[in-house]
Symmetry: C2
Subunit: 343 residues, 2 copies
DNA sequence: TTGTATGCGTTATCAA
DNA sequence: TTGATAACGCATACAA
């Protein structure tokens, strides 16, 4: 059984210091200003007892009373995708120095988990939320905002929910990288798409589509395969794309919907005896740290996820602070075509 | 200003359903069993109102009352090191299905942050903690355990604190990989060490030391450089090791204290015009996902971090459940020498 | 089967 | 300057 030793409360501190509970509260919250004055002597005595007893305020009780939890929750779809830890770093950097604390929640890209997350945030009475969501809808977000929880979305998906968003313009970015492939002479360009029920998956395939159209190339279903944004399963998709079709029908370039898939594609191609970029060019999306480590290093679209995180954090803090209820703001973070060896 | 709309409480539900607050509480917590019986009709009416109002229990109030928060906190030193997200996945897997929720805290490998984390856990009254700590001491841990917070350490460092631990036996592992280098004929083996105020840093250099000794090789200060477990700065260390010394004095192999450093070392060596593994063999430690993606792929020690996480989570749940206060248990997870191309 | 009353640790109001 | 005291939302022993 947990020893569950009695933890000191303000009551204990007050008794020990020979003052009332209120005084302890004042001292701890530095309320000795406007209406209330605490003598320096009293203040020091209280702090000394706090120290000696190892008193720590109970934030549950506090936030019950104050209706603020000083908590910011961050939901991401996949912590093992290096993209998101970097984003979290950005948020942390923004929040550092404020009174807010961050808790991270990994939804494992599951709709059920995402919805459970909303409930949890409601129950925990967090003050603010940063959402990287693929499954929540406007109604889910309304539940948060209606409860007075400030919400910022990363990715444009939730713009319709009337919240602030920070996003990369993924469609133009996808278009640009496919354009680049075309400019290198590729005509049969395959797309290793992401899940089509997620906006990143949709936007990237749309960009792919647009670039082809611009160049007067035909969009062929046979050149598109649908994956999960994760390495698992990519090998089969590549196999089905290359092993099954006649050599002259094969794509000369593959645009993968993210780096994780692109890297796995390069490996799969290698196993099929194809060289990258000589036989097939490959490019990805995101620019995760591994992108420059692999061989051949990966041509990709750089999203500045750390900056996106920082912007999201800053936006949230603004809302939480002054809280001037202005129009929702949608900021888009520049992307960058990063040409390396793979294409 | 946050619209801060009134959120429904049990009071509201009770009024709406025409019952007392207690009944609502009973229904919500499924207390209709032993001493208390709630009619099915009442139950349904209450649940209907809960649904309609979108009532969510306030966990702060609840845990104030029950003295349980159903919260497990996980502290890791660096979320951007892929090692830790995997570990977290393991913990999540263990906790999935229980009533506990996980919050993740990234200490950025700072002693101050780690200590702040302890305070935070105390204040938030979390029920359990999984600690991957490089800086906390026995006294810090005692503050947690004395407050009745169940604590599990990952890594052997906190064994002395009398808590359960899950660890890889890093010293033998380091010894083994250096032995392997020796078995491949290397005699001048350099070590790109981790910070010496952290146990992983210490244990890995000790293993290195032991392997040399075993083989009758001299330990030379000139062959050791101290880094931070991060890529930054590694290039200079490699430069100083290779550029500065006469060719015949140069190491023929480098054992890096972790994969992140090893990968950066390979890149730095490449810039110096040295080939890996022909001119210099390189090996790492951890087996992060990128280890098999880089070229040459990385020879390293595989730590099963996901399993470590799962074990830590399971251990914690056991303690939280029955809470049978047995002796602290120390389990060590097998490691694996993974030979790839780099050495 | 349901309702009343109490206290969890805080903060905030109001007197003293 | 300080001290009672009333909420905050909930769970539960006990009474009805």
């Amino acid at each position: 059984m947990p020893s569950e030793n009695h933890r000191p409360t303000q009551e204990d501190v007050a008794r020990e210091a020979g003052v009332s509970r209120a005084v302890v509260s004042y001292v701890i919250n530095n309320r000795s200003g406007g209406k209330v004055r605490i003598s320096e002597r009293t203040r020091r005595r209280v702090l000394e007892v706090v120290q000696r007893l190892g008193y720590q305020p109970n934030v549950n009780a506090r936030s019950l009373r104050t209706r603020r939890s000083q908590l910011i929750a961050v939901m991401v779809p996949d912590l093992t995708n290096p993209f998101y830890p970097l984003m979290i770093r950005g948020i942390q950097a923004a929040v550092e120095g404020s009174d807010y604390h961050i808790v991270v929640y990994d939804s494992d890209d599951s709709a059920a988990h995402e919805r459970a997350f909303v409930d949890m945030m409601l129950r925990r009475h967090v003050d603010g939320v940063v959402l990287v969501s693929f499954h929540l809808d406007v109604e889910d977000v309304r539940r948060l905002t209606q409860a007075g929880i400030q919400t910022v979305g990363i990715g444009g998906r939730l713009r319709a929910a009337g919240i602030d968003t920070v996003a990369t313009r993924e469609r133009p970015a996808a278009r640009e990288i496919v354009r680049y492939l075309i400019s290198r002479g590729h005509r049969r360009i395959a797309h290793l798409a992401g899940p089509q029920d997620t906006p990143p998956g949709q936007l990237r395939i749309q960009g792919y589509h647009e670039a082809l159209e611009e160049a007067g190339l035909r969009y062929e279903e046979a050149l598109v395969r649908y994956g999960t944004f994760k390495p698992a399963g990519v090998a089969q998709l590549i196999d089905s794309m290359f092993a099954a079709s006649a050599p002259e029908q094969r794509p000369t370039a593959v645009f993968a919907a993210n780096d994780l898939m692109a890297i796995e594609a390069i490996r799969a191609l290698g196993r099929l005896g194809m060289r990258v970029p000589e036989d097939v060019a490959v490019c990805g999306f995101d620019n995760i740290p591994a992108a420059e480590l692999v061989t051949p290093s990966l041509t990709t679209i750089g999203q500045d996820c750390q900056r996106m995180g920082r912007l999201a954090g800053e936006t949230l803090l603004e809302r939480l602070g002054a809280g001037a209820r202005a129009e929702p703001r949608h900021v888009s973070v520049p992307y960058l075509l990063i040409v390396r060896e793979s294409a």
